[in-house]
Symmetry: C2
Subunit: 322 residues, 2 copies
């Protein structure tokens, strides 16, 4: 059986279930949601299979990833997502099995991050395109702007695995067994630090923050720009295992960590007197904050300096259409 | 110059300007909007150039149309749109001129229908894909459900021009001069009855309503289903000029009016005692309500009956992937 538009909608609704809220009128022309506490927070992110889905990624993982990108922005802002609308474009060759797998991916994301899927639209195109529009309410977000000289720069996890994972999946790049699964799973099942972002914002511990999905370097530049400050980075957020393996496998570690992208970590600044508290908050959640440098008054200057070397971190990363 | 992602965003922002509200933080990871009065209303609609954009439609008209689809749903529900997020996928061959034209189309729509563009996402794909996510607040919407036997069935404008216009644009179909411009402009510049929908809902004149963009027949069936009623249609909403020309130009008028689609009119039901008031409301806005039939208790039966003929209106229209 070849699914048409209505089959697609039915399968997704059957899989993810009706939204919990009695106010969401699924099946009407629009979705209606109870007004929450605080301002409305909204974000949209589009996944295009050809450019955003690596070889080896299963259909349900693609569907989950299409939502993860928005979750990552909500995490960086410290906002719990409440509702998602999904616009799909599917090729006419799509099978019922694939639609069911996609629905399962949406459900995984919903269960993992705790929102309702309240609406959407179905279309036909040559490629699979999934646009996720995510909504929430918040009394306060952590903005990109707000970093002050002296603040510490932190990230919520290691960088670089994604670059390695992509090379493994796309080019058959060979890596040791223990690195393989960390690298590949970082690509196939990216997991934003939603709870950590929400707690750090609730406790007003961050002076500024940004989602890192376009790469660490670009995120640092954008974050510095927003506050008209600079960053002096003294440590690259990379796990020992990856660092040890880099030379053996012929990996440019700096490039992988700084310019790779798709990490979905939070890059943030924290006033020095709140750093310990923030680290404890992370630990309580089984997470970590990696301190990588400090904020300077050198507007727009993002540099790396440690005991052995010093270089400018370039403003580059994942830029579509470039 | 070939525009990259950031050029696209810059051009759109330069063209449409910053949103009016001081709370919308354009340039952060998410858009933040002041919480409005009433519940949150949300709708997403995706345009794919290959399937949704006819020959002869200019780039700015395509951009405008990508927003019109959501406006039409807001019109049917009687809700003023407040904010729009736009996700774009563009081919790598896109030119600066095309991006500027698209930005102009977004601006036209914004000025025409009165919302802010508060966020978006830019991607690369083989085709142009524009996903519009529209947001608003409302204390009350007119739902699809609510029609009662005896209510009158109305539409807000004539049907059929779009089918003719599409045939003119796509197949070079020949029509008389006076029909040509009505038909072609109905396709290139569809104009939902937003103000009329808002007034009719504010005055609580409609018992149920739906947007008609998938065609009159399908809209009638969906509207009847939602209230578990039937419709007896006794008049097709078609202008005399189109009706007169139909035979001469070899047009199946019934098919054009019932199964064409893309009309972006409101299809609604009105309690008999409110009909006169509703018509006056429309007239005050320079609009009209065309009475086409009445609601029956025959659940799911949508039939046409007048003095000369009687037939069942089929449940068919524009269904993607079918």
């Amino acid at each position: 059986m070849k699914p048409d538009e209505y089959d697609v909608i039915r399968i997704i609704l059957e899989t993810v279930g009706q939204p919990a809220s009695p106010y969401s009128k699924i099946g009407d022309d629009v979705a209606v949601l109870p007004r929450g506490e605080g301002d409305l927070v909204a974000k949209t992110d589009m996944l295009v299979r050809k450019t955003d889905v690596p070889k080896g990624m299963e259909t349900w993982q693609m569907a989950r990833k299409s939502i993860v990108a928005c979750v990552s922005d909500f995490a960086a802002k410290g906002v719990q997502p409440q509702a998602v609308l999904l616009s799909l474009a599917l090729p006419s060759t799509i099978t019922l099995k694939e639609v069911k797998e996609m629905a399962r991916g949406f459900k995984e994301a919903r269960d993992e991050f705790g929102f309702n899927i309240v609406g959407g639209d179905t279309n036909e195109a040559d490629d699979v395109v999934i646009d996720c529009c995510m909504l929430g309410f918040a009394k306060r977000i952590t903005e990109r702007r707000g970093a002050a000289p002296g603040d510490r720069v932190v990230v919520t996890g290691p960088f670089g695995y994604q670059s390695v994972g992509l090379k493994v999946l796309q080019e058959g790049f060979k890596v040791p067994e223990e690195l393989w699964s960390l690298a590949v799973s970082s690509v196939l099942l990216p997991t934003p630090r939603l709870q950590l972002g929400i707690e750090l914002t609730a406790e007003e511990l961050l002076s500024s923050s940004i989602d890192s999905s376009d790469g660490l370097a670009l995120s640092l530049h954008q974050l510095a720009d927003a506050s008209e400050v600079g960053f002096e980075i003294s440590r690259l957020p990379v796990d020992q295992g990856l660092s040890d393996a880099a030379e053996k496998i012929g990996l440019d570690l700096d490039a992988a960590v700084l310019y790779g992208g798709e990490e979905y970590e939070i890059v943030a600044t924290i006033p020095e007197n709140k750093l310990r508290w923030a680290k404890q908050t992370a630990e309580k959640l089984g997470q970590r904050l990696i301190e990588i440098g400090k904020v300077t008054s050198e507007n727009g200057q993002v540099v790396f300096t440690d005991d052995s070397r010093s270089f400018e971190i370039e403003r580059k990363g994942w830029i579509h259409l470039s």
